[in-house]
Subunit: 381 residues, 2 copies
Amino acid sequence: MRIPFNKPYLTGKEIEYIEDSLRRGDIGGDGYYTEKVTSLLESRFSLDKVLMTTSCTHALEMAADLIELKEGDEVILPSFTFPSTANSVINRGAKPVFAEIKKTTFNIDPSDIEKKITDKTRAVIPVHYAGVGCEMEQIHYLAEKYNLYIIEDAAQGVNAIYKDSYLGGIGDFACYSFHCSKNYVSGEGGALVINNCSNEIKDRAEIIRDKGTNRPHFLRGEVDKYTWVDKGSSYLPSDLLMAVLYAQLEEMDKIKHMREKIFRRYYDSLKQFLPGSFLDSISYIPEDRDSNYHIFYLKFNNREIRDFVMNRLQNKGITVSFHYIPLHSSPMGQKLGYRAEDLEVTLEVAATILRLPLYPDLSDEQLTYIIENIVDVFKEL
Amino acid sequence: MRIPFNKPYLTGKEIEYIEDSLRRGDIGGDGYYTEKVTSLLESRFSLDKVLMTTSCTHALEMAADLIELKEGDEVILPSFTFPSTANSVINRGAKPVFAEIKKTTFNIDPSDIEKKITDKTRAVIPVHYAGVGCEMEQIHYLAEKYNLYIIEDAAQGVNAIYKDSYLGGIGDFACYSFHCSKNYVSGEGGALVINNCSNEIKDRAEIIRDKGTNRPHFLRGEVDKYTWVDKGSSYLPSDLLMAVLYAQLEEMDKIKHMREKIFRRYYDSLKQFLPGSFLDSISYIPEDRDSNYHIFYLKFNNREIRDFVMNRLQNKGITVSFHYIPLHSSPMGQKLGYRAEDLEVTLEVAATILRLPLYPDLSDEQLTYIIENIVDVFKEL
């Protein structure tokens, strides 16, 4: 049996909506379906302002522009994340300062954030790993105390909850991803969320997203022609991609439930091996938050065991994966002056984590096959 | 009769290819159709290296990154262009220096480029307005003489020819647009062309486009895992959009021919009014180049006549348009220290140009209606 690591789930409505979008002819940015997904996200997650973007990367870059990040500034973020989190800081000339993660959730550790705050710190970017929220109460406390912006990297966090709030609705800004590897897909795509900000910030966001022009204001009839008013880039996604996304978001809870079922089966079948001589932990959701079940992982006691299990499963046709190579220990992190040993927990997690296939189309039969093979290899450890 | 200004043309294959892309499941960046459009563009236009991007704006930004544009640098470009041309320079901290256009083609004037070259000038960005090539021989001569990069802004120039070369195949870099307002559409989308550059530059381009990672090299089996190696952003278009584009590019000459027929009818019907007391010029293609017929324009003797004709046609249901508000005279241009009177020809062209509807779906009946109404209003002048 060959089991891929991931497969984008289709609800069946995608083609119908794409055809409709093509028929309307309005397939550039800010068309019919862009408005529909924007409204849906704003109302479902109680968000103040959503702007759909070409990617989560670009939403992060927009947030950096909106806080006017510049050379000399510092931003605190985990090293255990995708390069885009740090690129959004570097691309604006500022310095990413990497903080440690917690061993429980692999999310940024608030106590290490506080240690790394300096006079230059402008913002913190908590990354909600695996769709499980960061310690937002503590991070919010630090942000108030030291006057920092919070930019949530909720790339993996769409439709997950921390206490009473949806992820993305907590920080000053938040960034979602709808990349084809995520729970809800548009192919490539993302969104910037702006919470509790001034109208000036919201206006500026629209301008930056639309090539530095006041076209959004022109389309609303607020000015009689549009022109170049500020710097900006092109962050509007094609309406064709938003048509795909609308089909997905209409069924967001159904998709979440399908993922949860798989997550629970992994959890219930594998928790018996904890605490163990080879298994350190498995995916964990604190009681005060609700995951979107983006990732199920195993964490082993050392790299040799992880690699042994990984190879065995791969040989059985089961595609498993690990990530991330911690940013601070990557070639680019080294260029920035970081040393691998700077962040011990991060290094250890990256060396011992193993991610299992998790997607709605994973059949019961496939899931049974994966679990049986894991249990088999565990018997040898 | 109501006639829109533009309507994206569909070949009929778009949905079939989108369905195929969805079925393949590989709807992120660098999928099946991305490879197909890349090969098609490289072979059809004899280009060294093409990288499909999320937009022409982003292709321009990539070119700025690849020449390592930085604060203190200057780049010469026309003011008569879309804001993205200048934003790509400003976003990297450099200064856009606006040059005058020629009265014949509205393309950048090489004699004014030379006047504006300083020790700080790093590059020139010729914009091929309306799908008619700039004076590339003279620009190439200047670039050699003063050691400048040439970045062709060929947003409007796909499938047009200057002497023996397709536009996009002449400069060090070139940028195409497949925005829904262009001749060949993907919704939002573009491409970066790299001509005669080193392998280092091509490698770096792939890395910048893919979030600063060496994932492209990983996918080719050149490294055994991928990691963060440089700064970068997310410039890979969804394969769904490339599926749409492939349907378009397969029929690129048919589409060009349909546009040419409309262009010729405008030209043949309206040239009789030249030279005139109210009409200054109409769309013009020098004999040594071949247009892709992206735009047909009329240029009047003054703004009052232009506005009179524009209003009359709009009242008859014919959507006409003008552009650009010259960048140097826009609010952002003013912030950069330019004065409206700096570029006389540019100001005059922008005040007197009128663009007519031009797209394959424009019927004979609609075209006749437009021309008759133009001739009617001309009789009153």
